[in-house]
């Protein structure tokens, strides 16, 4: 198990929060909450060691532009592929707009 933290520039703080995915084989859980500053922080906990560079590449491609809302992201990963990671993060951003949990 490995823990990695990333930070990116971001826009205004997000509205609402969301949860997507589960900590199951080949999947991951994404928890998304507003961040106060114009920064996005990603805390990754993954069951697969030694893939820091891949995480950095995937997250930089999604969040590196700095134009998405500022969020705190917690990722609990159980061996998801980069494609699944991108879909779950996109899903979490999409569901932010809706009433969380309802």
């Amino acid at each position: 198990m490995e823990k990695i933290v990333f930070e990116f520039d971001a826009g205004m703080p997000a509205q609402g929060r969301s949860v997507a995915g589960v900590v199951g084989s080949g999947d991951l859980e994404v928890l998304m909450e507003p961040n106060t500053s114009e920064r996005t922080v990603v805390n990754v906990t993954t069951s697969v060691d030694g893939f820091g560079k891949v995480w950095e590449a995937v997250l930089t491609r999604m969040l590196g532009q700095g134009d998405l809302p500022a969020v705190r992201i917690e990722i609990n990963d159980f061996g998801a592929t980069p494609g699944v990671v991108r879909m779950r993060i996109a899903q979490a951003f999409e569901e932010l707009a809706e009433t969380p949990g309802a």
Binding site: M1, E29, L31, N76
Partner: protein, 283 residues
């Protein structure tokens, strides 16, 4: 069934625990307690190098069913096989205990448990087992006031101490896809040998422990298709029927009477068990 009906059907099995809970409650009434953002995670998994899930695999949802106060406890089978750890099992036990307390205070809170579990979480051992015992006690307490409805939809099934919890429910709703048993097929094969139980023989396993057979043998009350609308309407039916005259665990002598007719020296077959158990469990 025609193709259109199949296309319009919404699968319950394919839904995650949170969506299952939302579908069972009246529209718009879903409110989650101890939600993922409270991060009440297992304190034991990370120490063993295992990634935790923010809700520990159990969704506790308050709301209404049929306009009456209700709580739905849905287990997420994809996280650690839906296993019951100290936190996840305590969430279920605590919610059931509070529902019973509500009833003593004249608030008729009812409960639905969505089983999707291999039983105790081995990494948390006795703490999980102790909490499962609390779930059993809480079901027996609550079912004196309101029916407690269990749903085993699949595909994980319902095993170990949680199969006892399913057996204690006032009504148990099952699909063809689920299985219910005290021990899983691999465990039986390991302990008793492949001649006794071949864990690779799926027709054999479903023939003895699958949802359809459990219904045929009176160990489950309602047999449903994997369909959100049908499952929800059967939950409403069960609540409208009210408490059964006697729960299965109150008919022990009837079960023992039927069990006495079975010869354990020979391999049981699906038909043989159905033949004995379908005679009912009146003492």
């Amino acid at each position: 069934m025609d193709a259109q009906e199949l296309l319009h059907r919404e699968s319950f099995i394919e839904l995650g625990a949170r969506s299952r809970a939302r579908q069972l409650l009246d529209a718009g009434s879903f409110r989650e307690l101890i939600d993922p953002f409270e991060r009440m995670v297992s304190p034991w998994l990370a120490r063993q190098g295992i990634v935790t899930q923010a809700d520990d695999g159990v969704v506790v949802a308050k709301g209404t069913i049929d306009g009456q106060p209700a709580v739905v406890l849905a287990i997420e089978g994809r996280f650690q096989g839906g296993s019951m750890g100290e936190v996840s099992a305590a969430k279920i036990a605590g919610a059931l205990e509070l529902a019973a307390e509500d009833n003593r205070n004249r608030v008729p809170t009812r409960a639905v448990i969505v089983f999707e579990t291999g039983g105790v979480r081995l990494q948390e051992a006795n703490l999980g087992l102790a909490a499962i015992a609390e779930i059993h006690a809480a079901i027996v307490d609550l079912r004196r006031y309101q029916p407690v409805i269990g749903i085993a939809a699949g595909t994980v099934g319902c095993y170990g101490g949680m199969s006892i919890a399913a057996g204690l429910c006032s009504y148990l709703i099952v699909t063809r896809e689920t299985r219910i048993g005290l021990n899983g097929p691999a465990v039986i094969e390991q302990e008793a040998g492949v001649a006794e139980f071949d864990s690779r023989d799926k027709p054999f396993i479903w023939g003895l422990t699958g949802g359809e057979q459990r219904h045929r043998t009176g160990l489950a009350d309602v047999f449903v298709e994997d369909d959100v609308t049908q499952i929800r309407s059967e939950v409403l039916n069960c609540f409208r029927k009210g408490r059964p005259a006697a729960c299965r665990s109150e008919r022990v002598s009837g079960f023992l009477h039927r069990l006495a007719a079975f010869n354990p020296g020979e391999q049981a077959t699906s038909e043989e068990v159905a033949g004995i158990y379908s005679k009912g469990f009146e003492a």
